[in-house]
Assembly symmetry: C2
Homo-oligomer: 197 residues x 2
C-alpha cells in the first residue's frame, strides 16, 4: 500500500524549483538564467513559481540561504572527524572542489552587480555572505589558537583564503572533476606553506 498520491505538494514543488534553479544559476550566473529557464527545467509554469516566490531576487536569496545553511550543516557533520585546523582546511577545500558545479559564488557576484545596493534582497544576501565568512573564520581562529597558523587577523585571513578558493572555483569551470580536486589540494598546500623555497 503506497501512501495516498497527492497531486499538490507545496513543499516538494518548492524543493524542485530550488533544485533546478541552483543548477542553472551555478552554471549560467544570475542574469544568465531566466524564470522561463527555471520553469522548463522544473517542469512548472510561471504562475506556480510566482506563487512560491515573490520575484526573481527573492527566489535567489532564499536559494542562497538554504544552500549555505545546508552546506554548513554538511560541513559540521564532517568537520568533527578532524582534530587539527589544518586537516579541516584540507577537508573544506575538498568539499568545495566537489561542489564547484553547484556553487552560487559566481551567481552571487552577478546578483550583487545586478541588484541595487539599496535593495532589501541585496542586503539579505550580503548578510548571508558575511555570515559565511564568519563561519569560515572560526576554522582559522581555531588554527591560530592551537598554534597551527600564524597569529594574524583571522577575519582578513578568512577573507583572503575564501577569495582564493572562490577564484579557483570560477576558473575551474571547464576542467574535469579530478583536476579540480587536485588543484584545490594544491591551492591548500600553497596557502599553508607558500611557494617560497
Amino acid at each position: 500500500m503506497t501512501a495516498k498520491q497527492r497531486a499538490y505538494d507545496s513543499v516538494q514543488t518548492k524543493e524542485t524549483i530550488l533544485l533546478h534553479a541552483k543548477a542553472l544559476f551555478s552554471k549560467k550566473g544570475y542574469k544568465g538564467v531566466s524564470i522561463s529557464d527555471i520553469c522548463a527545467a522544473a517542469g512548472l509554469s510561471k504562475g506556480s513559481i510566482y506563487h512560491h516566490f515573490k520575484n526573481k531576487e527573492d527566489l535567489f536569496v532564499q536559494l542562497a540561504e538554504l544552500s549555505f545553511a545546508d552546506s554548513w550543516k554538511d560541513w559540521d557533520s564532517r568537520s568533527v572527524r578532524f582534530s587539527s585546523a589544518t586537516d579541516k582546511l584540507y577537508a573544506y577545500s575538498e568539499l568545495y572542489a566537489d561542489n564547484v558545479d553547484l556553487s552560487l559564488t559566481k551567481a552571487g557576484e552577478d546578483f550583487m552587480a545586478t541588484t541595487g545596493a539599496d535593495s532589501a534582497a541585496f542586503q539579505q544576501f550580503g548578510a548571508i555572505l558575511t555570515d559565511y565568512v564568519r563561519r569560515f573564520e572560526d576554522i582559522i581562529r581555531e588554527g591560530i589558537e592551537n598554534g597551527e597558523f600564524k597569529p594574524e587577523e583571522p577575519g582578513e585571513m578568512a577573507f583572503a583564503l575564501l577569495s582564493s578558493y572562490s577564484g579557483l572555483a570560477n576558473n575551474s569551470r571547464y576542467l574535469d572533476k579530478e583536476n579540480v580536486r587536485r588543484l584545490f589540494r594544491k591551492m591548500t598546500d600553497m596557502l599553508l606553506d607558500g611557494i617560497r623555497k
Copy 2:
C-alpha cells in the same frame, strides 16, 4: 597651433567606445551592460557602435584583446625595475590592486558563461586568457630557475596564483582603494610564505 580639426575621427571614436565599455563591463559584467548603456556613456548612437564593431561579442573580445595587451605593455615597462621574481610578484599584485575597478576578469567569466563554447568569439577570448596565464607563468618560471620558488609545475602555479588574485579582485568590489591594496599585499605574503606557523 592645434592639430588638424576633424569632424570625424574614427580612431578617437573607437577608443572612446572601448574606454566607456571597459568601465561598464568591469562594473556590471558582460550581460549587465547593454549596447544602449555604452551608447549613453560614450555619447554615441547605436548605429555608430555597430559601424565600428560587428556585434556585442566582437566589441568585448576586441576590448579584451587591447586591454590585456596594454596591461602587459604597462607591466613590461615596470617589471624591468625589479630583479627578483619575488619583487615582481609584489609589483604585479600592486598593479592588479590598482586596477580592480577596471578589470575584465569577472566580465570575462560572464562572457564565457553567456557565449556558446562553439562561438568564434568564445575561442578568441579563450586564447587571450591562455596567453595571459602563459605570460604570468614566465614570472613563476623565473622564480623557480633562480631558486626563489619551489620547483613545481609553473603552469599550475600560475593558474593557482592568478585564481587567488582574481578571486580577491571579485570580492574586493565594495572595499575602498586603500584596503584593496593592503589585501593584495597580504595575499602575496600568504602565497609566498603560507599561513602555517
